[in-house]
């Protein structure tokens, strides 16, 4: 049986070293570049006509814009629209990485926890900085729950701080685990199809067709969840309530 984890292997396409740090151009980097290129094609080339009656590509670009703008408006309010470009970038990047990963023989960048964790950490640090910029030192009040006896306060503040620190972990683990589990499942069932051959292989094949559809849904849903949690964290930083 072929190794179902083989698809997650990092391969070097171009060996590079910068100041003693390994910055080789890998398949992971390649697919990030591809995602950026695809998003640029969609948003820049697709919007070149700026027609009142949009072409198909333009309407896809417009739909994604309105989708994210609506998400930011619903979850953060109009004060959050300042950060719309950031949320849009995060959403489109994760969405395209997930969707590119659904193409056979491609590589799923988001199935590596170091990538999702780095993104989540960037969001976490950025949102914390935004909180301190908006509220100054008063942002620390975010960690002090209201209406609690003074005796319990130290304990609860520690718990609140830990709860705040779990954000990048749960954000990144959710995306990574969903993508990795899904792609491993696909590979395992693909091996079943080959292993059971012409007689028994049809059942796992039928399952795989359905599961591929589900995986495309998951790819979209996880990008959506990633973006919406960014919005919720932004909302906490701007309006300071849970």
């Amino acid at each position: 049986m072929p190794d179902p984890m083989h698809q997650f292997e990092i391969k070097r396409h171009l060996d590079l070293e910068l100041f003693g740090i390994d910055v080789s151009f890998t398949n992971s980097a390649l697919f990030m570049v591809l995602a950026i290129a695809a998003i640029s094609v969609l948003t820049i080339w697709g919007m070149r006509g700026r027609a009142l009656v949009p072409t198909r590509t333009q309407s896809v670009a417009e739909i994604s814009y309105e989708f994210v703008a609506g998400m930011v408006r619903d979850n953060v309010g109009t004060a959050g629209l300042k950060y719309f470009p950031f949320v849009f970038t995060v959403f489109m990047f994760v969405l395209f990485l997930n969707m590119l990963g659904m193409i056979p023989y491609s590589f799923t960048v988001t199935s590596h926890i170091i990538v999702t964790f780095a993104m989540a950490l960037a969001i976490f640090i950025g949102v914390t900085v935004i909180g301190f910029i908006n509220h100054g030192i008063g942002f620390l009040k975010f960690f002090v729950p209201s209406g609690v006896p003074v005796l319990l306060l130290p304990l609860l503040v520690v718990i609140e701080v830990i709860s705040y620190l779990t954000r990048p972990v749960s954000l990144s683990v959710r995306l990574f685990a969903n993508m990795m589990a899904g792609h491993t499942m696909l590979k395992v069932f693909g091996a079943f199809v080959v292993g059971l051959g012409l007689i028994g292989g049809w059942a796992p094949l039928a399952f795989m067709v359905a599961f591929t559809g589900l995986e495309i849904l998951v790819a979209f849903l996880q990008a959506y969840v990633f973006a919406i949690l960014t919005c919720i964290y932004l909302n906490d930083a701007i309006h300071m309530h849970h």
């Binding site: 718990i159 830990i162 709860s163 779990t166 972990v169 749960s170 685990a177 969903n178 849970h242």
Partner: protein, 132 residues
Amino acid sequence: MVQTVNDRDKNRNRAGRSDNSAINKRLTDLGERLGDVKKRKPPTDDAERRGNAMGIAFKVATELLAGVLVGGFIGWQLDSWLETTPVLLLVFFVLGAGAGILNVMRSAYRMQSDAAGAEKRSKQSGHTPESE
């Protein structure tokens, strides 16, 4: 309907009104046909709901796990810094579990209020196929 763009432009003013009514007629037609199809085959959202429930379960599980992990990690680091192994690891493990439960409760509240909001909205629009 095969027409060049110029033809359409010329005809637009003259035919604008009748075009609109034709489009409206087609829309209501389509709406009726869609309603018929929906009545014939009621939406089987069982699978969808089950997928959604699995998503929620997974979300809650990661939140709980993240709390324990982060708490344990903080305790472990503090321990190796202050050389108090394993006191702080144990303390922060429990605190992390508390933080995880807090996260789970918060996201459960959020889901509850989201669901309540969605229900209210669908009641306000009040024209679901089931109510007919």
